[in-house]
Each structure stands twice: as C-alpha cells, then as structure tokens.
C-alpha cells in the first residue's frame, strides 16, 4: 500500500462525517456519534463531528448537542448539494489539516461515494459497510477493528488498517442506537476549517433539485399521532400538528380505515420514528404500534381508557376524551401565537 500521508503518531481523535439534508442530521450520523462517543471514552480520545455544506449555522448549533467534543464546520457555496468532486476536495483538505486518527461515515449512497474517493485521495484504507467497531487500546496508535458481517450477504471478517491514517470505515445504518440529545451545558465547541474548492475541478452541475412529495415521518421532530379513537376525524390532529410544526402519524387501524395515508403508519410494519415529542391520541398501545415510538424522547398519550397499555410507553398520560382535550389545547396555542 502507498505510504500514508499522515503518520500514525500525529493522527488524533475519532471523527464522524455528519450527513444531513440541510436542516437535520441523518439517523446514521446520530448512530455514529453515539458509537464514536463510546469508543472515544474507552480510548481517552476526543470525538469530532465534521459538518460540511453551505450556510450551516443552525445545523451546527444543533449538531453540538449529540456528544461530540467538537464540531468542525467546513462551508462553501459549492458544498450546497452533494457532488463527489467538491465534497471530496473539501474533505481531503480538512483531513490533511486536522489529521484524524479514525474517520467514520454512514454507509449511505453519499457516504459510500465520498469515503471511497477520499480514501484513495488520502492513500489510506477503507473498511466498507461495517457492522461493528472496536478500538484496540493496547496498540500504541489506537487501532480500529471493524467488523464486516451481513444481514444482506458476505462473510464475517475483522479488518484493521495498520499503518495508514486516518483509519476509515463506512458503517451500515441501523446497527447502533442513535445518540440522544444532551442537556444544555454538556455541549461541545464549534470551530471552522476554511476550505478552497476550485470550481473548475467540479465536473457536475446541479441544475435543479426536486424533492418528492412523499412524507418521511421517520425524520419528523414532532408527531401528532391518531388511532381508532379519532373515529375517522384527523381534523383536530391536523390543526394541532400545524400549530406545533409536527407531522401526522397513525396506527395501523387508522390507515386500514382509510382515514390517512399509508406512509404515515407507525410501528412494526410501519415506520420506526424518533421524534423529540409524540402526542399519541386514541391509540391503545399494541406492541406492534409501540415499537415504532420507543425511540421518541417524550411521549404524551391521550386515551379515555385508564387501562390502555399506551400509558406504559408514555411520559405524560392524559386519561380523557381526546375530543374534549384537544380543542382547548388548540385554542391555547392559537392565542399564544
């Protein structure tokens, strides 16, 4: 293998490339921050999140809250949407400047694309599509051991990158649990790393970007969810969702009844959601439903049946008719606008 551009003894810290859609971080990036934190704590290294893009101020603030010691921001108008050339150029500059020891990517379409190109540029190894990560603290230069197995094919192997730095890996989404938001005061620091991208070297131009209509409730920060108890009327829930900037979600019964579209179904055969808050109205709380809200930070359940199992999965339990609870709540929210 080609000689490393970065020497093992100068390489430092565990880095995670933070993928985002401009407003929020991808789930796999949160998963890597959680795993990265664990590896960092075990090895006494720092954890850094690399955020690339254009006009990232609010996202950078948001990213600080997930356990990284530092968020390094690399901004440029050419990074507004992902292109292999521009992003690889920029990432290579940051890496050569900051010399990470370990650099992790989500094995998403963009993550796979960028990591492969970048590894060649940096003359280092890349372990693709890992399913577990381990750090060998007994090795002088903190070796990363990456496991490659597969629910989707392939043979298990443990791969290490001995001499070249950074030790790079793409990690399959969904393997680790996502990082939880930390409370204020526990956040990391933010820094900027200037990058210069030569527009002449970017061979793709994005002419127009169109995002499909389909809702993706797995990314919603807030959800208002209805079940059989809404009795065919999602009107109140829709008003509430509008006021809270939330998406609508539903149990299977509500979808089966045709009250709401199928892509809003939550649960075992629907979507697993990770909102900060979910207000769940008229849902009994069958396990096939609750597995889809387990990862929510806060669950408020409204159900007229005090015995409803949904209350076991809720942080706030409102035992009452949703039709008498929601109207005053909506009025209150409207008045406070």
């Amino acid at each position: 293998m080609a000689a490393s551009l970065i020497r093992p003894e100068e390489a430092q810290r565990i880095w995670v490339w933070l993928e985002h859609d401009g407003t929020s971080l991808e789930g796999v990036s949160l998963e890597l921050l959680a795993k990265g934190r664990e590896l960092a704590d075990r090895s006494g290294e720092g954890l850094v999140g690399l955020l690339m893009g254009h006009e990232l101020d609010s996202l950078a603030d948001e990213a600080l809250g997930y356990g990284a010691d530092e968020i390094v921001v690399a901004e440029d108008p050419l990074l507004e949407v992902y292109t292999t050339d521009a992003w690889c150029d920029a990432a290579a500059q940051v890496v050569l400047e900051k010399k990470p020891n370990i650099l992790l990517f989500g094995a998403t379409p963009d993550g796979r694309d960028l990591a492969g190109r970048l590894a060649v540029r940096l003359r280092t190894g890349l372990t693709a599509d890992c399913t577990d990560l381990e750090i060998k603290t007994d090795e002088p230069a903190l070796m990363l051991a990456a496991e490659v197995t597969g629910f989707g094919g392939g043979v298990a192997a443990i791969i290490a990158c001995k001499e070249n730095r950074p030790q790079m890996a793409t990690v399959r989404p969904g393997v680790f649990r996502p990082a939880l938001r930390r409370s204020h005061g526990e956040e990391g620091v933010q820094s900027r790393c200037p990058v210069r991208i030569d527009p002449g070297r970017v061979r793709t131009r994005v002419l127009e970007r169109r995002i499909g209509e389909a809702v993706d409730i797995t990314k919603a920060e807030a959800l208002v969810v209805g079940g059989r108890g809404v009795k065919g009327d999602f009107g109140l829930l829709e008003t509430l969702a509008g006021l809270l900037g939330a998406e609508l979600g539903a149990s299977r019964v509500a979808v089966d009844e045709g009250w709401i579209e199928k892509d809003r179904m939550i649960g075992q055969t629907g979507s697993v959601t990770r909102p900060k808050v979910a207000i769940v109205c008229g849902v009994s709380g069958a396990m096939q439903f609750t597995v889809g809200i387990m990862e929510a930070d806060t669950v408020v359940a409204i159900n007229s049946d005090p015995e409803a199992p949904i209350f076991e999965s809720a942080d706030y339990c409102v035992v009452d008719d949703l039709f008498s609870i929601l109207p005053p709540l909506i009025r209150e929210l409207e008045n406070s606008r």
Binding site: G150, F151, G152, G153, G174, V175, R252, V253, D256, M265, Q268, T269, G270, V272, G285, A286, M287, Q288, V291, M294, P309, E312
Partner: protein, 399 residues
Amino acid sequence: MSAQYDDGTILLDDATLERFHRATGGEAWPCYQCGTCTATCPWGRVRQEPLLVRTLMRNAQLGIDEDGESLWLCTSCGICEDRCPRGVPIVRILRALRSLAWKDRRIPEGLPSVLWAVHRDGNPYSLPPCERTRWADDLEVKEFEPTDEMLLYLGCTASYDRRIQKVARSVVGGLRAAGVQFGTLGASEPCCGETALAMGQTAFAAEIAEANAKLFAARGVKTVVTISPHCFDMFQNHTPRLDEGFEALHYTQFLARLVSAGRLVCRGSFPRRVAFHDPCYLGRRNGEYDAPRTVLESIPGAEIVELEESRAGALCCGAGGGRMFLETPVGERFSDLRVRQAANAGAEVLATACPFCITCLEESAPQVDQPLKVMDVAEIAARALEPEGADVEATASGR
C-alpha cells in the same frame, strides 16, 4: 444471473443453476408441475393473482431469479406441502431462495433491522434485554434449576408484548394450579432464532440454535416448554441435541399431559361456544392437533365447535414465514377470512395457541357482526381454574 428479455424469452445460465441447486439441495427436482400448490395456497383467496408456487418451484429447478415480492409472501403455512403429491419440501425451498436473495440484497425494506435487533438485543422488536422479565414482575417466577420438572421458555413475543404477556401469565397460573415445579431463564433467555430462519437467514438461525443447544445442556434442561408454536418448532426441528438432549413441547402439549394425569383440573367453568384455530406451526408443521383440544374439552361448560377448515386443513392466520414483520394490505389478510369462519360456526370465542395468531385474529375480529372474542387456550383454562371464573391470569395474591 438468468436474463429475461422483453419478448418473454428467458436465458438460463449454468452458474445460476448451480447456485440454486446448491442452495436448495436439488429438493425442487421431484416437482412435476401439477399446480396443486398454487391452487391450495391461501394467497389465491385474497388476491386476484394467486401466489404462483408452482412457478417458483419451476424457477428453482431451472435457476431463474425471482422478481422479488412473491418469494416473501409465503407464510410457511405448509398446506401446499401437505397436499403436494410429490412430497416437495416447498417451504424449505422457498427459505433457500430467500437466503440467496439476502446474498443478492434483494430484501424487502424493514427486514434487515429486524435481524439486527435479534443480533443486538436478542429479540426482533429492538426492545431492551433487561425488560424481558417485566411480564412477571409481580409473579415471582423463579430461575430454572436442573431439578425442575421443566423450563418454561417465554419467547420474545410473550416476554414483551403486553397482550401476549397475559397468555404467559395464564400459562403460569395453570402450571401453578397443577403443582408443577418450573423456572425460566429470566433476563438471560435468548431468542429461539425462528424469525431468522423464517426470513431465510439459515446460517444465522443455525448459529442461534447451536448456542441455545449449548445453553440448554449447560443449564441441565431436560424439558423445554414454549408459549409460541414458532419457538417450539425451532427447538423441536432446528435445534441440535447435545449430551442427553432435551424434549421440546408446546405448552398445550404439556397442559394436555397434566389434564390426562389428573393434575390439572378446572373446577370452574367457561360456558361459551369455542372454536379452535389450529396454528400452522403446531398443527401441520408438527402434527399436534389433539393437545389443545384435550385442554379445551377438559373445561366444564365450554362447547367446542370446529371451524370449516380445521386440523390439517386449517387456514393460516397469515403471520408465519416472517409475515409478522411485513405489511399486508387490507383485504389481503387471511385472518379476515378466518374470523368469518368462526362467526359462521357460531363461535363466541375463537381460541388459539400462538402469539402471532392471537394478534392477527384479534385485529380482524371487529370485522364480523357478532361479538367474537379471541383468546388463548391458556387464558380460557386459567379463567376456568376456579369456580366463579374468578381470575383470568395468575396474580401475586392468587398464588
């Protein structure tokens, strides 16, 4: 890869043929294309286009790749196998084809995360292992010891699903009433691996099975009794026997033995018309039709009626073969047909003995006009244990 052209011509190739042959062990070869399987498969009753089982078998013979969806529809109900004049192990072949689909990454969305959950959390629901014993928080069920009469194996669904926890509690109630000395593996109870097997992850399932065989041997388990027929099938047919081995039983079989031995006597009554839905994994896949009926018949007052299709001809609920984790659209759920059969039989209670069946049938039950309650055999037995029908479940005070 076999190639298909616009004019319908299919180009076969030796490499794919060889690959299919190795995966299926050539077991599709005896098929002589009579089509009985396609005709008996329940998908034909809920869809315009039936599941083309015969075509799947032909494609397995010739090494022709699948389009994707049809391979994952099979609920492994086994009725086609039962009727096949050539004894083709259709479900095993479909599983083998699924295992190839994993290698090619042609897998329905959502299934990898279920398997990751089994790998990481030891259950397919991504729920914390430490919560595995919560169903028994107030029951004081003890850890299994080698001197116990049997190991009660909860399985993932009975451990975590609130609805099925009630079944587990009822089983405990029955065992205690009969004075059975038993224990569980508590929070360290592993997944049986059936989800992985059903989804075609045969190697992963074998790994789990081997670990479980070692665990049972190390803990001195002689008899393991399961709540779910799926776990039972896994232990009975897919888990190796080490040292002296162990006996696997479904709880209805164990309760039936207790009834026959006069140890389990229901002194209360359950004056209802009860129809029994045979779970595929208990009935067709393991030939046990009598045990649940023996238990039901021992319950005073219960009037047992048979469903239109019962025992070896029973209609599947639709949740086997990994379908519990794949969405089935309204109008295509077998359980809808099944609850109608129960209503036609005049049943007030539709009894069954499988967590997946309970979930599906209960969801379909509101579709029939008359009230139809879905209950597990254990729940009915527990309700009839004491006069007055005092308590459905075991409770701390009732111990």
